[in-house]
């Protein structure tokens, strides 16, 4: 496994992001803009389902999901670039592994919320439960991502 991570780290992309003075900074900047798009939409949609933002009709959020996908793909690409630059380190970093797990869980739960709203209605307890759990997972992904600088 370690050889594979080393191979990633020594790839052209890994070397560029790590060693170019602007490589890491540009990838990080893109990563924070993508985060604000994806997490912003997740927050508005889940907080609406939880009746915190009461005014917006929940069905309308279907129209916002493509914006969240734009943010997600910005972060998938910039995230892969950041990962490549320190693959041997990040692959064994517990907060990074937790972050990946929380992104997958948060994504699945967000889809569950959308499905529950369609099947059981906007105010169904199942919709609210999935909204709460999805929001918690995504906030956890922000926190674990930020804590990569500390652990």
């Amino acid at each position: 496994m370690m050889e594979f991570f080393q191979w990633i780290e020594e790839s052209g992309l890994g070397i560029y992001i790590r060693e170019d003075p602007w490589g890491f900074a540009i990838a990080l900047s893109a990563h924070s803009v993508g985060m604000s798009f994806a997490l912003g939409v997740v927050m508005v949609a889940t907080l609406r389902a939880l009746n915190v933002l009461k005014q917006v009709p929940i069905v309308s959020h279907a129209n916002l999901y493509t914006v969240a996908w734009v943010g997600f793909f910005i972060n998938l690409i910039s995230g892969l670039a950041l990962y490549a630059s320190h693959a041997t380190e990040y692959s064994y970093q517990s907060v990074f592994i937790m972050k990946l797990f929380l992104i997958i869980v948060g994504g699945v739960l967000f889809k569950k919320m959308i499905d529950a709203a369609a099947a059981d209605g906007d105010n169904a307890s199942s919709t609210k439960l999935f909204a709460f759990l999805s929001l918690a997972s995504w906030l956890g992904a922000i926190v674990t991502g930020r804590l990569m600088a500390y652990f």
């Binding site: 900047s29 914006v67 930020r146």
Partner: protein
């Protein structure tokens, strides 16, 4: 003169608090990141609806505009956490090029928001459903999104422009 002022801020209660606990700085950073995501989420709905591009154009105008207080709350979270960061390390921020530009863009975004609120908000609220928005409102909304994306990028660049 300026340095005396920065020293006073650094020695203030907020400055001591920001540096006083090992968990305080990462806690504030996390709140700042959550706040910026909430701010952008609300802005995307409002500004893309006003511009009338992308999927949010299908959201009715009044509910979209009703997210403005949510954006203000998110901004308040980041203003407060941002002030504490500044007090915790005033010399670092004050002389940092990325921070200086970031503050300039926030001031411009604030002026732009006032222009929107006093110049366009009433017109937009009164717009019949399905009607196109005035070009002036579209321009303000486009400037708003561009400035805030710039603010996020410059904030992230603070450690790299020292």
């Amino acid at each position: 003169m300026t340095d005396d002022f920065l020293n006073t801020i650094g020695d203030s209660f907020l400055g001591e608090m920001a540096r006083g606990y090992f968990w305080m700085w990462p806690l504030l950073e996390n709140l700042h990141f959550i706040g910026l995501s909430a701010l952008m989420g609300g802005l995307l709905v409002v500004d893309l609806r006003v511009i009338g591009i992308g999927p949010p154009k299908h959201i009715p105008m009044k509910p979209a505009l009703s997210l403005i207080p949510f954006v203000m709350i998110a901004f308040a979270i980041n203003l407060i956490t941002g002030i504490i960061f500044f007090c915790g390390d005033p010399f670092r921020y004050y002389y940092n090029l990325a921070f200086q530009w970031k503050i300039a863009l926030i001031v411009l975004a604030g002026a732009n928001a006032l222009w929107f609120w006093f110049g366009e908000h009433a017109k937009l609220s009164a717009l019949p459903e399905g009607a196109d928005t005035p070009i002036s409102a579209k321009v303000i909304a486009g400037i708003s999104l561009s400035l805030w994306i710039g603010v996020i990028i410059l904030g992230r660049l603070i450690p790299y422009l020292e």
